[in-house]
Symmetry: C2
DNA sequence: GCGCGTACTTACCTTGAGGTAACAAATGAA
DNA sequence: TTCATTTGTTACCTCAAGGTAAGTACGCGC
């Protein structure tokens, strides 16, 4: 045994060991879900709005997303309790989506990682160009 | 204007605004790369080993990965400067992979998010079951 | 009666991830 | 000579993400 203290990462994986296999799978699903093409963008739009937005408003602000993908993304977020969906019995239909507190909490934990990567992007760029000229 | 202070998330996206489009894309690629099936697992194995590991050792410890996927995952990590590859001119061939300092740094930034999700998994579970019975 | 506006839904296609299985290369050992 | 060992690579398959385009539902206004 060379190492005496656990790395932070080992603590994290150790923490995961305390979970059931289902919970471990769900943890992975939540984290990988964050990397889906539109998830973070949709969440951040709703978070920054600070108020419920209807489908078409979200669609406008998430530039380039298709109806199909927006529907799917919002459904997934709703299923995980990250957004709420409120349907109004009107014609034409009105549906409002809002960010939830747990989603805000999650974004607050995503942000440091994202910021670090953005701040470090130069080093990654350099590594890639060096690797690619070979 | 209802809000007076920026949320953490707005700061993060604001920070991204300072990047070129290329850099923004690269930032996204690095983050989404983390969500690839084997990436974090491979990185954590190398990080916890604390010493260079040869291909077959990594393969043993990353349970279930195929040769093809391990090769691909390691290439990507190498390209981004997250692992180093050292080839020895021996027969049979020996190749050693090692984690880099920047990768350790990145893992240290992934860990709080992962830990938070794992800690919050109960709430997600509850949200899903509630959503699914409908 | 007919189109308009809104929020989906469905059919169909392309693309990439990732799996399995077989093959490549190179040399010391039997 | 033949084989085992190790690190890939390649061919082929399946599955899911995500895009486009069209259809659905439904009351209101003209």
């Amino acid at each position: 045994m060379k190492k005496t203290t656990k790395t932070k990462w080992e603590e994290a994986t150790a923490l995961c060991d305390g979970l059931s296999e289902d919970q471990d799978t769900l943890t992975r699903e939540i984290v990988t879900g964050l990397a889906d093409k539109w998830t973070l963008w949709v969440m951040s739009v709703l978070a920054e709005a600070g108020e419920p937005l209807r489908f078409s408003r979200v669609m406008e602000q998430v530039e380039g997303i298709s109806q199909k993908s927006l529907t799917k993304t919002l459904r997934q977020l709703e299923r995980d309790g990250l957004v709420t969906r409120k349907m109004f019995a009107e014609v034409p239909p009105r549906v409002e989506y809002a960010i939830t507190p747990i989603a805000i909490e999650m974004l607050d934990h995503v942000e440091p990682l994202w910021t670090w990567v953005a701040k470090s992007v130069g080093r990654f760029q350099e590594a890639r160009t060096q690797f690619d000229q070979r």
